[in-house]
């Protein structure tokens, strides 16, 4: 019922359905045939069912230890816990490509089900584009990386999984991150559909924004989760390494953030149309290219996928069709899109333009830093590596004005603002930021951390004061405040929350710039101090885990003689994979992380010493907390009635008449 052959067949069926989903609605829209266009949602849902079944088959193969399936034999083992048998399905190249296409199909299904308020022709075209992309990737899956490949004779047991990947955080990281990547396929499809139609208006902006916001929320969560994983699993005390794989997720996040903002301008002012369409195309193109670069072996990265240039050629051809096709269409049709908005630099839309310029500049920096090494080697035959110093030096100065503008932007009215009036709303926030600056001078060292910290406090204060002003705190009765709170659009709450989240993340980053660590070699019972805390190694003992041998240390941390916590970091040896992992022990009070790692054992008997790494990471949890708050802000604005209902019926009727 759920065997590998059924799964393989369902995958092939889904691929065919996706091809039909691509061709029929486009053809129907061209012929103005409502019946053909109307098939699109049914095809999208059927494709989703077929692909869902196929994915379920692969999960069942892994759960039932069917080692005749090459993919299961290579990545699973009988002794693996059930949770990791399931999540291990997407922990490898083939399975992750299948998950990727499944999420794309889910997006198509969502447009079919939740996009009922869209004009039929537009919805048909959007689904056709999604179907085309789906078909391409399902073909890639079938032809070059088939997850249902069989081996004969089937081995008795599988080869097991990298122990580093056996972690709940990483198990759910790929689905969330992929949902973010793939979710931007919907704005992309909207952009291409609009180019085919030759029209972008306020209604289009209103339709496209919820999809972009939803994808953005997932991508934000996915990046935060990945960074958190590297913090507590790799045991290195770091959280972001500017590794190509990390950059591959940051680049679409930057353009996606710009897209979420520029779509507001399309919706409210009918401006930035061409730019927004380009951003929608660019964001998805960067998502796709990231997937491609990671898997082709062109970029050096620690996140090793099985690199195969033949696969790379296939994906590159696919990218050339998707990205090249959409950009060619853009170059051909975009000049005909007319803009009506007149922009004053001091206005809400002006500040959104500034936001876009800065975000895209940061994006350009990250793209340059990531692509420079391979291109330098191709053109000059020289190998270089671009690392943290470049990225820090180039991105932080661009982040400062971005933070400054974030505080002012939401306080500005549309069309034309009076600076003096706007600033009068921001006195309180500026005051708090000034206090914050003093606080930063006291607590932080270094010009950039102090500036970033003060600006982050400024963003938080300005966003909060903006909401407080709108609900009338201070000049309306309690009853009036409650009424205004109820009527303030949820998107305003969401924007404020997301901006506060960004501020919290930046504060976390500033705190981490002050992190202190020490590497010490101690005997049992010895005490070392780090930044005011006394760390004592109480004991070290060995024990045997399910599939590893572990050495566990007990480290007591005292502050002024008072016991704060006892950490139990471990070092585990996985015998079958001959791999060692460190289990970091973290004590957090949400202000400071105390982070302990146990390393090697030296000597014997009384002279036995242990290498310990002790970290004091101020505000570390705030980095991920801020990401979560950003995503919650996005989700909150998604629940806004205006987002869900979509454009007024009048606009829809007008579209129908034109179509």
């Amino acid at each position: 019922m759920f065997g590998p052959e059924q799964g393989h067949f369902a995958l092939a069926l889904a691929c065919v359905l996706a091809l039909v989903q691509f061709a029929v609605p486009l053809w129907g829209a061209n012929r103005r045939d409502a019946r053909l266009v109307g098939l699109a949602p049914y095809l999208a849902v059927s494709q989703l069912i077929a692909l869902g079944y196929s994915f379920l088959c692969l999960v069942m193969c892994a759960v039932s230890d069917d080692f005749s399936v090459q993919n299961v034999a290579a990545n699973s083992a009988v002794s693996k816990p059930l949770l990791y048998k399931i999540t291990g399905v997407w922990g490898n190249h083939e399975g992750s490509v299948l998950l990727w296409t499944l999420i794309l199909a889910v997006c198509g299904g969502a447009v079919s089900l939740f996009g009922r308020n869209l004009p039929d022709i537009l919805r048909g075209r959007v689904l056709a584009i999604l179907g085309g992309v789906s078909a391409g990737f399902q073909m890639f899956c079938l032809l070059t990386s088939d997850p249902f490949d069989r081996v004969f004779p089937a081995p008795m047991d599988g080869q097991g999984m990298n122990p580093l990947l056996q972690d709940p955080g990483l198990a759910f990281h790929p689905p969330i991150l992929y949902t973010g990547y793939v979710g931007f396929a919907v704005p992309f499809a909207f952009a291409v559909a609009a180019l085919i139609e030759g029209r972008v208006d306020a209604a289009w902006g209103r339709w496209v924004r919820p999809w972009a916001v939803a994808a953005w929320c997932f991508l934000t969560c996915g990046i935060a989760l990945g960074s958190w994983w590297s913090y507590y699993v790799l045991g290195w005390g770091g959280y972001w390494f500017w590794d190509p794989v990390e950059n591959a997720s940051l680049i679409p996040w930057l353009t996606g953030t710009a897209l979420v903002h520029s779509a507001i301008v399309v919706e409210k002012r009918e401006g930035l149309k061409i730019w927004t369409v380009l951003l929608a195309i660019a964001t998805f193109s960067f998502s796709l290219s990231g997937t491609f670069l990671v898997r082709s072996g062109i970029l050096n990265s620690v996140h090793a996928f099985a690199n195969d240039p033949a696969r790379g050629v296939f994906i590159l051809a696919l990218l050339a069709i998707v990205i090249g096709g959409s950009l060619a269409l853009f170059a051909w049709r975009a000049p005909s899109l007319t803009s009506t908005g007149l922009f004053s630099p001091i206005s809400r839309e002006g500040s959104l333009v500034l936001n876009n310029i800065l975000l895209c500049s940061i994006c350009a920096v990250v793209v340059t830093g990531t692509m420079y090494p391979p291109f330098m080697q191709l053109l000059a035959g020289r190998t270089i590596s671009v690392g943290k110093p470049f990225f820090d030096a180039a991105t932080i100065p661009l982040t400062l004005p971005l933070l400054l503008a974030m505080g002012v932007g939401t306080a500005l009215p549309w069309k034309r603002a009076q600076l003096a009036r706007t600033f009068s709303h921001l006195y309180a926030a500026a005051g708090i930021a000034a206090i914050g600056l003093v606080l930063c001078f006291w607590k932080l060292s270094g010009v950039l951390p102090i500036a970033c910290g003060a600006l982050a406090i400024w963003v938080i204060a300005a966003s909060a004061s903006d909401v407080l002003r709108r609900i009338g705190i201070g000049h309306t009765s309690a009853q009036g405040v409650w009424e205004r709170m109820k009527h303030l659009p949820r998107s305003s709450w969401g924007a404020a929350l997301a901006h506060i989240g960004a501020g919290i993340t930046v504060l976390g980053l500033c705190g981490m710039s002050q992190a202190q660590h020490a590497i010490v070699e101690v005997h049992i019972g010895e005490t070392r101090s780090l930044a005011g805390d006394d760390w004592t190694l109480l004991d070290v003992h060995d024990y045997i885990g399910p599939n590893y041998k572990a050495m566990q240390a007990d480290i007591a941390i005292r502050h002024n003689g008072k016991l704060v916590t006892i950490l139990h970091p471990e070092k585990r040896d996985f015998t079958t994979q001959s791999q060692t992992t460190t289990e970091v022990a973290i004590h957090t009070n949400f202000i400071t992380d105390l982070y302990g790692v146990v390393g090697d054992r030296h000597g014997t008997g009384k002279d036995t010493t242990y290498v310990l790494r002790l970290h004091r990471n101020p505000l570390a949890p705030w980095m991920w907390l801020g990401g979560l708050v950003m995503a919650i802000g996005g989700a909150f604005s998604l629940s806004d009635r205006r987002m869900r209902i979509g454009a007024p019926k009048r606009a829809a009727a007008r579209n129908m008449a034109r179509a």
Partner: protein, 184 residues
Amino acid sequence: MNATRRGILTAVPIIGAGVLGVGFWRMLSDMRSGAFDPRAIKNPNVGKPIPSFAMPGLPGLGDGFTDAELRAQHRPVLVNFFASWCIPCVAEMPGLRAISRNMPIWGIAYEDKPENAAGFVQRDGSPYARVASDRHGRVAIDWGVTGVPESFLVAPGGRIIWHGSAALDPQIYEAEIRPRLAGL
């Protein structure tokens, strides 16, 4: 003027994507033929004597070393440039530890704060017989190092006989280094 601006805005993305696409295609096709290895670097010093240098050690890891000491060795030595800020170097460590069972590896910390480099080396057990600090990368320039990690096989007497720019592992040792040791 508006039309020109639009023309530029619409043409630039496709030209940019085209350039990237052609570049990627060249890289991929060269990778298949073996002409392009993202991890390989040519070094002009192979076959030449090692340059002269004197470097201090890292805190807690003994003294540094000089070219004279390296030349005076009676066994071939693998010289490995690394840095605590370099991600491939993290990945390389288990491989180096495995190789260090067969031959001595001397480490040079490249453009790294000594305390960071020392912590990095001690993290999971040092593969290095000796470690020195090239704090400002001056020595690395003489060796022709373009990035980290890079490794050099130095024959007794101080001649460089092999250079590798990839993160080392036992496979590379078996395929590239061991056959060369036999000829010494």
